[in-house]
Subunit: 136 residues, 2 copies
């Protein structure tokens, strides 16, 4: 397990859209923007699935994911594996949150399920000599 620093958490929450990368069973990568994301604790991220297509299929076949976010020249990549949930208290709470988001935005939104990422490694994606290096 790897723990996010306060600065990483601050940036993750500030940035409206992060990237969720997955890979299919043939090793073909897929990357999509994700807005419905939350920090559960220093080493755990929750992502809600409203519109996942290949991403969901990939996560079912291969739980390894990467979540990348950046602002200007500062950025991070969280790597680990996901557990998918479509019931239980974490899902129910997320479903209410997403429904409220939809109501606030004026169009219906429904959470089909959640992906819980346990962070195993954190890399920098900031340009320069440290690019791509393991941070945590």
């Amino acid at each position: 397990m790897a723990r996010m620093t306060d600065r990483m958490k601050e940036l993750f929450e500030k940035i409206p859209t992060v990237v969720l990368a997955t890979a299919d069973s043939d090793g073909k990568p897929n990357a999509v923007p994700v807005g419905a994301k939350k920090i559960l604790d220093d080493e755990t991220i929750l992502i809600s699935d409203q519109f996942f297509n290949k991403t969901l299929k990939n996560m079912k076949a291969n739980p390894n994911v990467a979540v990348t976010f950046w602002e200007g020249h500062e950025g991070y990549q969280l790597k680990g594996s996901v557990v998918l949930e479509t019931s239980g208290s974490r899902y129910e709470e997320t479903a209410r949150w997403i429904e409220e988001l939809g109501n606030a935005a004026g169009f219906p939104l429904k959470s089909k399920g959640i992906a819980i990422l346990k962070i195993e490694e954190i890399y920098g994606v900031t340009p320069g000599a440290k690019a791509g290096k393991l941070l945590v």
Copy 2:
């Protein structure tokens, strides 16, 4: 092969940073922001490598990549395979372009090589019923 529409090309050029996703030989995805990118023609993208680390290692082992870019609720994902070049006219021209970018930015930048993506499929990443669907 798949051809980008004029709108896709316009958005690709307008957005300063796109995402390049790769996967290692174990199927672990990797996604990094990329600023040094150019359209060569409707079905070909060039990306310059200044700071690639896992991305380069992954592309050498597995040429399948995804390039994702979006603005607001409009976005696209280009999928295909890359050829890597570290010499020849396309690399030399890119090396000059990157050196000029560095000079303009006030810090040295050097292209270590280029990845040429031949686009095979184009997907939407716009939220809604068409999310993740094959467009081209």
